[in-house]
């Protein structure tokens, strides 16, 4: 019998570990990754020829980054790696399997596969605040990508705002790279972090180094604040200053020319949606994600899930899940099982789950920011839809669900298809209707996952 064709979408820690396990079992998996070099988000590699020392780029994670990059290089001859390739459509094939629509260096291509591992990672979660659409405002992730991929800071005087472990991490990385940081503002309370700290510190995980108060020592003289109640970017045509209200209601203002701001991560789950996976609401991170068993199986018999694309767990968890889900896939193919290895991974994943819960406790959801979004604030920037328009549509036009909101207002109907604004729009809609956010549902995904040219590239 011919070997089944297994495709992995995403070449981050999760996808690479999955590829490794499959290659070890003698399969030759396809690894489809939008990135130009394998590594994913956290271990993003500079373009060939622009390398810098790993310790400079990845700080604490340099060792892991190097290990993963070495793995990618070692796997090269044993897998079918297609970098720079976006999977933009996934269609079921009769009787089983999928056709993947891809856009790569050679144009459009359609790849028939039998089984899929989706390791598509996450992106920053944004919330609107005054001035958030001004040039010079970036997400924290974008600020980090600029540093890792291009060796550039987003500005000369940078303020950072956040509600997740990425905030102290990016602050550290910027400080280390010699950038001038003028403020680090966490919109979640310090108390939550202190309470969670013992559980966090006990974990040997990447994100544990993000514990808040270590940053304070590193950035003497710079305001490093938690419990920030409100932020606003000021400027005429570009960022000129960041104003904020501290935990006691006092107002501050600091001149700057760039702001990095985002509020946690959201899974990039459109591929799972197109593949037909069932979604469940994760109350911890307040988002819909494809349902995933502990072993990495989805609700669909031929789709497997790993990494941040199906539950925010961080890079270490992504690696473990990548390996685990590949083992599950091999078991489903009837390959001999390595029970000891499975059990080892399960134990480590189990331990990580506790860490993750602690992490979320340290960065509770910033409800006060959603409540404070003014009616004239733009929420969907592709289509210019304001929070007021969303609230009015909910109450006057009976929009009780996200797809209906989209149909009536165009929220999430632009280039990003709701990847950026969908979360904030759902929170605003739910708050207006006084229902839990899961009650307003989620935007349905459709191909293409990201924009593609109308004309087929020759």
């Amino acid at each position: 019998m011919a070997e089944p064709v297994v495709a992995i979408v995403g070449g981050g820690p999760a996808g690479l570990r999955a590829a490794q396990v499959l290659a070890e079992a003698g399969l030759r998996p396809l690894l489809l990754d939008e990135g130009h070099r394998a590594g994913g988000q956290i271990y993003r590699r500079p373009p060939a020829g622009a390398e810098r020392p790993a310790t400079e780029l990845y700080g604490f994670e340099a060792g892991r980054a190097r290990a993963l990059h070495d793995l990618a290089d070692a796997l090269a001859p044993r897998i079918d790696h297609r970098p720079g390739t976006m999977v933009w459509g996934i269609a079921p094939r009769e009787p089983v399997g999928f056709d993947l629509d891809c856009l790569g260096p050679a144009g459009h291509g359609r790849i028939p596969v039998d089984r899929l591992i989706l390791a598509t990672g996450a992106m920053d979660r944004t919330l609107p605040f005054p001035g958030w659409t001004l040039p010079g405002v970036f997400t924290l992730g974008a600020a980090q990508i600029a540093l890792k991929a291009q060796g550039m800071a987003i500005g000369r005087r940078v303020a950072l705002v956040g509600a997740g472990p990425l905030l102290p991490l990016v602050a550290h990385q910027y400080a280390k790279a010699g950038a001038t940081i003028v403020a680090v503002l966490d919109v979640t309370p310090l108390g939550a972090k202190v309470a969670a700290a013992p559980r966090l510190a006990a974990m040997p995980a990447t994100l544990a180094k993000g514990v808040w108060y270590t940053l304070r020592g590193a950035l003497r003289g710079v305001p490093v604040r938690a419990g920030v109640r409100a932020v606003a970017v000021e400027g005429d045509r570009q960022v000129e200053a960041l104003a904020w209200e501290d935990s006691r209601g006092r107002r501050h203002r600091v001149p700057c020319d760039a702001v990095g701001a985002s509020f946690g991560l959201r899974s990039e789950a459109q591929a799972a949606d197109l593949a037909g996976c069932r979604f469940v609401f994760d109350p911890l991170t307040r988002q819909w994600q494809p349902e995933r068993s502990a072993e990495g199986r989805s609700s669909h018999a031929h789709v497997y899930l790993a990494g941040d694309g199906s539950g925010i767990g961080g890079a270490d968890v992504a690696e473990l899940q990548g390996a685990r889900t590949a083992l599950a896939l091999l078991a489903d193919l009837g390959r001999p099982r390595d029970a000891a290895r499975e059990a080892r991974l399960d134990r480590r994943l189990d331990r990580q789950a506790g860490f993750r819960a602690a992490l979320e406790a340290a960065y509770p959801y910033p409800h006060h920011l959603v409540e404070g979004i003014a009616d004239d604030e733009i929420v969907c920037r592709c289509e210019g839809i304001t929070a007021g328009a969303i609230r009015r549509t909910a109450t006057e036009r009976d929009a009780r669900e996200m797809n209906r909101l989209k149909a009536l207002t165009r929220t999430g109907m632009g280039r990003c298809q709701g990847r950026v604004c969908g979360h904030a729009a759902a929170e605003i809609l739910a708050l207006t209707l006084t229902v839990p956010v899961e009650a307003v549902g989620r935007l349905r995904g459709q191909a293409p996952i990201k924009p593609i040219p109308l004309r087929e590239p020759a």
Binding site: A91, N403, L408, Q446, A447, I452
Partner: protein, 382 residues
């Protein structure tokens, strides 16, 4: 479990059903409308948005002409901007044979009072210099246009509600029957008793008719749609072609919407999805018509589920088996433009037993002895 007793129960919540609820309330009858999902989320909410008389089966033209009059006042009536614009619908010929078909249709349509203007290559290029070389002529229907399908159905539903109709969403009807004295309609969470029953269940209209022992061969129809990012305004009219393998319009916002060919439809779970090869094919045909779109990006593709009759015209009229039951379904890919008038016609049928519009071609009896094919895979014009 909720119990309602009304004059008229309506199965379905598309434009036809919601417009009927409005017209029936205006006629003073009590109404309960039962929709499986959300009103206007089926074919009515996801279609291409073409408001077109040109190219219709001649049997449909009287209804379509009457519907067109309603579109002018629709935003005012619904107290909501439905985005209707009479941009004209232009049907392009890509060969002399195509042109001959357009000429013949224009003559027939004139008999129904629809004025179509035939254009040769020079007139056409003078007006639309951006058309590609494949186009040799066209037929323009200046009074046709386009509207925003996403708002029309929900706006009709809200008006019906304001007028006092009982509207239940997420209430799929499991069964309906006539028990000698009236209709008993069983839906999830609600049961309705009524004197009259309207079947406006779209692609599922045939199944509902089947509950009353009537044959109506409805096939699932899933037109394949693609939309680009917003672009500078270029495509001034709603565009179709002879043969129907591609159609294009540009929205007020600037997005270019294009269709052509079929997606896939699963009539069991109501899921319709686009097909890549079809999307790319429609894209290529669009570029042959409008080369200037070469650098546009596609941001989304989709499909929706309509009911297709073997002869491509709907079923509209009283049941042949059950007095008090009225059908309106199977609009075969072009029922968006008709929606507002179908509501009025249904109200006429319920209140007077007859309609001001000629409905003979749409009677359900035509399928009692139907031996023809149950579905075609040809192109469907919108």
């Amino acid at each position: 479990m909720e119990h309602l007793t009304v004059d008229v129960a309506i199965i379905g919540g598309g434009t036809a059903a919601c417009a009927a609820a409005v017209a029936l309330r205006e006629a003073g009858l009590t109404v309960a409308l039962l929709e499986k999902r959300l009103c206007g989320a089926g074919a009515s909410g996801v279609n291409f948005g073409g408001v077109r008389q040109q190219g219709r089966d001649l049997a449909e033209l009287p209804l379509s002409r009457r519907a067109r009059l309603l579109w002018d006042g629709l935003s005012a009536k619904l107290a909501e901007d439905v985005g209707f614009e009479a941009t004209g619908h232009i049907k392009l010929a890509r060969s002399d044979a195509d042109m001959a078909l357009l000429e013949a249709y224009a003559r027939d349509a004139a008999g129904h009072g629809l004025d179509l203007q035939l254009m040769g290559p020079n007139a056409l290029r003078a007006e639309m210099p951006w058309l590609g070389p494949a186009v040799v002529g066209a037929s323009l229907s200046p009074t046709d246009g386009q509207a925003n399908p996403r708002v029309v159905g929900p706006a009709f539903a809200r008006l019906a509600r304001r007028l006092g109709a009982e509207i239940r969403e997420h209430a799929p009807v499991r069964h309906a029957a006539h028990d000698g004295t009236g209709f008993a309609v069983e839906a999830e969470g609600v049961s309705v008793r009524s004197r009259t029953l309207v079947n406006a269940a779209g692609a599922y209209g045939g199944a509902v008719a089947g509950w009353f022992g009537e044959a109506a061969p409805v096939a699932p129809l899933a037109p394949n749609m693609v939309v680009t990012e917003p672009l500078p305004h270029l495509v001034t009219r709603s565009i179709g072609v002879v043969g129907g393998d591609v159609y294009v319009r540009q929205t007020r916002r600037g997005n270019v919407v294009l269709g052509g060919g079929r997606g896939t439809a699963d009539s069991v779970d109501g899921l319709a999805r686009p097909v890549t090869a079809t999307s790319l094919g429609a894209g290529a045909r669009t570029l042959a018509l409008i080369p200037d779109l070469a650098h546009a990006h596609v941001i989304r593709s989709w499909s929706g589920l309509d009911g297709e009759m073997p002869d491509h015209i709907p079923v509209i009229g009283p049941s042949a088996t059950t007095p008090g039951l009225v059908h309106a379904f199977g609009f075969s890919g072009h029922g968006f433009q008709l929606g507002p008038v179908v509501g009025e016609i249904l109200a006429e049928l319920v209140t007077q037993g007859r309609s001001a519009s000629p409905l003979h071609p749409f009677r359900i009896e035509r399928f009692a002895e139907w031996r023809g094919p149950y579905r075609s895979d040809g192109e469907i014009e919108h």
